[in-house]
């Protein structure tokens, strides 16, 4: 049950911001670009905020130990202020970029983007990874972990959390939900500064942010009960909610428009057309063919490698150096082929999908008709993802059959999990390519942007401390499955899994947001 509620918490944290944004958009026609910019303001603020806190701790402004009440108060005030200053100035920069976004609904959307990405990162990525590890450690002897006494105590505290009611698994989501409301309120305060042409509202936003954060820090450092901390957070956010209703309630009512219909039917029509296009232009054959080849050739290559070496003149001596091929080699070869060529195929298939239609004038022909732009972009992504899914299924079946015939049998479930991870990894490249193709007006530029984005994505795994949170780290997890031939929660990387899902969602939101602003 614990796992169920944690999964629910993770799913809610990733999906709720998007669902709320969809509802807001239906009522106010507010652009997705505001959500995207809102998310950017959070990430940009943390790029300054995290090193700043690190520096302040290093020079002693934020106390390293929390031995006295004064130290806790000092930490709470300083940490609250740094959060307020970094995030409110980021919001200020966001509004400065969006010169036309001065309506209450714009503030709501920016706040949802800011608080939404925070919830996605904290719960969807970080908590997903740590909870999986906690579940793995539940049955372990902690003393065997070679940890210091403080680390052991902290770990035990975390594990004790698992002994509480399973419903407590929803608390992280609840906390992020209240935090999201706070971010919406703060976004409205900064918006108020622009509307009233009075910068004092930015100062109020910083102070209010600092106050709420300080209350939470004090409650947390004093080891208050989790539910009491959340209650404290809720109570401290309430004045902000009341302020927002008082100032913006009427404006919000006045700006409401007839509810926008979500055109699922047209989305389905667009997906059918995209699938037909991929089929008629032979893309499906190429993709499925290449993946089928990977599926067949990987086990074969692993199996015949010693024979290949022995047949090469002058290389016979290496034959004996190669250990007898095994299932692990076949899985490794499969993984290598997919990782080396898979992303290139995703970029090649997706790079022209939007850019070439813009370049040729096809978007002008189609998008004055009732097809919404989000359906146009998402249909391209969905169709490509479906074709890759089919290609993976075929590759998996073929590879599995060849492994069964040539090597020791492996679990089909395990192989499917590995393929699922690889599929999600590949779809990240499809998403970034769709974004690259949306940003540019020519196929050449789209190819360049998509390739650059893909390379950055692949290199992100090398970032010290944070590399394991990159979607590219999924490849490492798949590698562990291939070498261990066993699903092990300890070597899993659910943080990377969450990161991949968040990455895909945000890439598509950016693509739709930017495409909505473009003239065709």
């Amino acid at each position: 049950m614990h796992a169920f509620f944690y999964i629910l918490s993770i799913l809610f944290s990733i999906l709720l911001p998007v669902i709320l944004a969809i509802l807001l958009r239906r009522r106010f026609r507010v652009s997705w670009l505001l959500f995207a910019i809102g998310s950017l303001t959070f990430i940009a603020s943390q790029v300054v905020h995290l090193p700043l806190n690190h520096l302040l701790t290093k020079i002693g402004v934020i106390p390293a130990g929390m031995d006295s009440g004064w130290m806790i108060a000092q930490a709470a005030i300083v940490m609250g202020l740094t959060a307020g200053i970094c995030e409110e100035f980021a919001r200020f920069a966001g509004y400065s970029l969006l010169k036309k976004a001065r309506q209450v609904e714009d503030g709501l959307m920016l706040g949802l983007g800011h608080g939404g990405i925070e919830a996605m990162i904290f719960i969807g990525i970080l908590m997903a990874g740590s909870v999986a590890q906690l579940f793995a450690m539940r049955e372990m002897d902690l003393l065997s972990l070679n940890l210091g006494p403080e680390q052991l105590q902290y770990l035990q505290q975390q594990l004790n959390f698992m002994d509480q009611s399973a419903l407590m698994g929803l608390v992280p989501f609840l906390e992020r939900f209240i935090a999201m409301i706070l971010h919406v309120v703060l976004s409205l305060m900064v918006l108020h500064a622009f509307q009233q042409n009075n910068r004092i509202w930015i100062v109020w936003a910083i102070l209010y942010h600092a106050l709420v954060d300080a209350i939470v820090v004090v409650l947390t450092l004093n080891n208050f009960d989790t539910l009491l901390i959340e209650l404290g957070l809720l109570v401290s956010v309430l004045p902000g909610i009341l302020w927002a209703f008082k100032v913006y309630g009427k404006q919000l009512k006045a700006n409401q428009q007839p509810r926008l219909v979500i055109e699922w039917g047209l989305f389905a029509v667009a997906i059918r057309k995209e699938l037909k296009q991929l089929w008629r232009t032979k893309m499906v054959l190429v993709i499925v063919g290449v993946f089928a080849l990977f599926g067949m050739a990987s086990p074969l290559l692993a199996y015949f490698m010693p024979q290949i070496f022995s047949s090469i003149e002058g290389a016979e001596m290496f034959k004996d150096l190669i250990p007898e091929p095994s299932t692990v080699d076949a899985m490794g070869q499969y993984l290598k082929n997919i990782s080396q060529f898979g992303f290139l195929i995703a970029v090649l298939v997706g790079m022209g999908s939007v850019a070439s239609e813009k370049e040729k004038g096809l978007t002008e022909m189609i998008l004055h008709k009732p097809l919404p732009r989000w359906a146009f972009i998402l249909s391209k992504f969905s169709a490509q993802a479906l074709v890759f899914l089919a290609a993976f299924l075929i590759a998996e079946i073929l590879a599995y059959i060849y492994i069964l015939v040539l090597f020791e049998p492996i679990s089909f479930g395990l192989f499917t999990i590995m393929n699922g991870i690889l599929f999600l990894w590949l779809i990240c490249f499809t998403a970034i390519t769709i974004l690259g193709s949306t940003v540019s007006r020519s196929v050449g530029a789209a190819a360049g942007i998509s390739l650059a984005g893909s390379v950055i994505l692949m290199l992100s795994v090398q970032i010290p401390r944070y590399g394991s949170l990159s979607p590219q780290a999924l490849m490492g997890w798949a590698g562990m499955l291939a070498s261990e031939l066993n699903f092990n929660l300890q070597t899993s990387n659910f943080a990377a899994l969450g990161a991949a899902i968040v990455f895909i969602i945000m890439s598509l939101i950016w693509a739709v947001g930017l495409f909505e602003q473009q003239e065709l």
Binding site: V261, L266, V269, G361, E519
Partner: protein, 315 residues
Amino acid sequence: MVETVESNLAIRCQDLTRYFGDVKALDHLNLEVPKGSIFGFLGRNGAGKTTTMRLLTGLAKPTAGRAWIGGIETTLGNPAAGNAFGYLPQQPVFYGWMRGWEYLDYIGQLFKMPAERRKQRIAVVLDQVGLAAAAKRRIAGFSGGMKQRLGIAQAILHEPQVLLLDEPTSSLDPAGRYEVLDWIRSLNNEVTVFLSSHILGDIERICDQVAILHQGKLIKAGERESILSEYSTNAVELQVEPGAERALAQFCIILQQQTWLESITQQQRVARMIISDKEAARQQLLALVVAANLPIARLEWVRPTLEEVFLELSE
């Protein structure tokens, strides 16, 4: 869902403005197109015709102002507004891998037309634009004229009450042009047609309403007849008897020295004059003709062509 405003107007632009940097592509356009009219939209290259079309269809965003088609505001970025009109861009392009009927079927689905109605309408419009025989051919193999016809077909498939046609006859051969123009004329009173064309003769033939755009500004709009009659007295045609062409040419040289003459052109036995000072011309022209001893077949104050009015206004 879209908000509809009841109105007798098919198209309304209110201070519709579009800047590209410092360039005013469209400057506070206020235009009203009555329902059922065939409205000619004239202007030199870069006058702002296509920009207006793109703003009306929601493909571009106005710097300021608003526009409505069939009472639905199209400048809000709501895709559902696309149901209100059919649009043919200047250079229609298609998915080359699709067949003619297949493309129309896709368009019909975008307008949520039921399968049976789609099938029936596709047959009707393909026949109307003369593409019935080529319906099953891939669009990649279509000629420019065929693509233009398919462009018209996709614009009229869902039977819109307003049609926006940007240079609808530009890629057609003379016979095709006449066919399309006749078809547009046959729509009069049923569908409002808002069309731009460089071929002013076409506009004059079929449009009952005309607007002239110059450097992004609307300089004239109204019924074609009233605009032409406004300029009706500054054009004179002089026709001589057969065999007097050379005498007429010499007379034209004499006329060119007159201060009241703006321009003169001769086509065989007919000289056409545009007069700048009508009073002086009325006093002197007949006397000059008599003095030149020309064998006159006809001397007539005629109204100018739309082309002449257009050139005068857009100078």
